[in-house]
């Protein structure tokens, strides 16, 4: 499966290393342009529609910044103020947005497979900005880009993904992207939140967070959705922090040069101790900055 078919980005599953590296090359160019204040305006005259059916500030802002930096016109769509609340179906909504002239639809939706469904119903490009618990390819690409820029290669590196993998589209998309680039991915978290079959997707599931951290060159702490506590997926935030969080003690046991990542927003004191969130090794704001450049490269490839 070509993830850019026809020119859409739906998932990192099946993306080739070559495609990813090409994208990184463009992202590097855009990062320089952004820093110099002279971004490439390669989408001038094109229309990018941000369709967000789920609350998101940083991803939407990041895509908006990327599209505007490329010179595109941006339409922002917010589900709560739209005709969706009047009962319009997703397919009807995206067809209307396409009819308004959108060349690229950036879609965030709470249901897995939504971007796949939409891409089959419109002729314009679709960029999946997160669908349910399935995929969040732009986040994975910017995470991998951040590591790649730091290390030069992911070959031979070990990345630990820690936390609520069951509900994490970020974890799934990262798994494909990182392993394609030659990294080894280990996973740990509350056993109730580690889904079955991850080995088949290329991950190694380890029995404890400590075991995962011991080997990690980078650790990706997933956001804990606090409503999972109400579902009794874990007992309390305090126990989560103690058993599965990156505490100060655990951070000290990491390899000295290890990198700490988080897709944001961070629950300080739960998955990340406050000192660690601000401490050395964390690249969380670097991730955010790289996000714009990587999303520029994605929009450009789809435009």
């Amino acid at each position: 499966m070509n993830p850019f078919s026809p020119r859409s980005l739906l998932t990192t599953e099946g993306m080739s290393r070559h495609d990813i590296e090409l994208l990184f090359g463009r992202a590097r160019l855009h990062a320089r342009g952004l820093r110099a204040g002279t971004p490439l305006r390669s989408l001038a005259g094109r229309v990018v529609a941000n369709l967000f059916f789920e609350n998101s500030t940083r991803t939407r802002l990041s895509f908006e910044r990327a599209a505007k930096a490329l010179g595109a016109d941006v339409l922002n769509f917010n589900a709560s103020t739209s005709s969706v609340s009047k009962g319009e179906s997703l397919v009807d909504t995206v067809r209307n947005v396409e009819a308004l002239g959108a060349n690229i639809i950036v879609l965030r939706h709470p249901a897995s497979g939504a971007a796949h469904l939409v891409s089959g119903k419109v002729r314009c490009s679709v960029v999946n900005a997160g669908d349910g618990t399935h995929a969040h390819p732009s986040q994975a690409l910017l995470d991998a880009f951040t590591l790649h820029e730091r290390w030069g290669t992911l070959e031979g590196k070990t990345v630990a993904i820690v936390g609520d993998v069951l509900h994490s589209r970020v974890a799934r998309s990262n798994l494909y992207c990182l392993t394609t680039l030659g990294a080894r991915v280990v996973v740990a978290g509350p056993p109730t939140l580690v889904p079955v079959g991850l080995e088949g997707l290329g991950a190694q599931v380890l029995p404890s967070v400590d075991a995962a951290l011991e080997e990690a060159d980078a650790v990706m702490m997933l956001r804990v959705q606090l409503e999972r506590q109400k579902e009794s997926m874990f007992p309390t935030s305090a126990e989560y922090a103690r058993a599965f969080g990156l505490t100060l003690g655990r951070a000290r046991s990491l390899k000295p040069e290890a990198v700490v990542m988080h897709p944001g927003p961070v629950n300080r004191g739960v998955e990340l101790a406050p000192e660690v969130a601000d401490g050395p090794g964390n690249v969380i704001l670097e991730q955010v900055a790289n996000g714009v450049a990587v999303r520029m490269a994605i929009l450009e490839a789809c435009g």
């Binding site: 497979g113 618990t133 799934r172 079959g197």
Partner: protein, 430 residues
Amino acid sequence: MSKPMVIRGGRVIDPRNRVDGVRDVRLEDGRVAAVSERPLPLDGAEEVQAQGLWVTPGFIDLHVHLREPGEEAKETILSGTRAAVAGGFTAVAAMPNTLPVNDSALVTRLVRQRAAEANLARVYPVGAISKGLRGEEMAELGALGDAGCVAVTDDGRPVMNASLMRRVLVYTAPLRLPVMVHEEDLTLSAGGALTEGPRATRLGLLPIPRSAEVVMVARDLVLLEEVGGRLHVAHLSCAASVALVREAKRRGLRVTAEAAPHHFTLTDEAVEGWNTHAKMNPPLRHPEDVAAIREGLADGTIDAIATDHAPHGIMDKQVPYAEAANGVIGLETALPLTLELVRAGVLGPVRAMELLTSGPAVAFGLPGGHLAPGAPADVTLVDPGAEWTVEAARFQSKSRNTPYEGRKVLGRVVRTVVGGRTVWPLEETR
């Protein structure tokens, strides 16, 4: 009363009467009049040549959603029974999850009346276990039985309240009403969209553990053993459920079970691409479950093939997977899918037809399902070698939600006879 009919030279497969051979069959006055190895005289009857065809008792489907009253855009009793006879079914059991729910004799009578007007397949209403299918208070089970319901069920929903389930078994035992159960512990399936496994993980669909079905099968078998009554387990889908029912039968419990064609021909692989036409409840399972269902069909653990025919419109299915309605249509594909098991060597032709005829008839105590003289003249003529391609747009059902679109299949119904009258092909197309 229609003209007598002589069906000549077909391979009569009548499992209950242990017939499998070339016979002539005479139908008269709505009954089977004679089945003979020697040619029967025509004697003023209509002659139907059946050389090379299978002549079987009319198929009986214990699990059909006809959607009327209330959701006539999806299906009506007329369109649903057209689909039934097109698929070789001469009788269907109509589930009560209509609008309003069939939890009263009034709705039961309406269903029967509309079926009589349609005048195609026989329709056996199944009443609700609980008022409004809410799982709280018992519906008027006695009145439902008196009005013509052949069983009771809250199908589509489980009876989560174990005490209510126990009382329903106690209460229905003297009424001889089978209690049909949709086995799903909602606290285990909650929020899930696909059977737990690697594919659910990859597609980002929240997992439904198989225990959601299995613990409820186990619970109800325990209750059945304690208080008696008759339990019918709908759409068995997990290997462990099959094992429980097998063991319960071995110990002599009055339990029957059905399986749906999609659960013995498809795995969760059919969901790939978030295919909402492969979304149903219980969800598609794994290869080992499919193998266990097939084994249960072969060894008698499962009594009936039932389609769980569940029509839905495009707007119910052209949505993201998690939001899509559960269910697939099944009446017009059941025969060829059953015959796939014959070609695979899982079932012999006689057992395959038993699962569509006398198996379901006995489970619900229905007339028909066999061809002894005096039995209702409900007959299906099958061309077992006819090849065709599933194309839902050509179906009689009002809905198109099938996961089998484009599948090449073998086995076609060439004639369906109900009460001695040919109802398929439909009169207007003959």
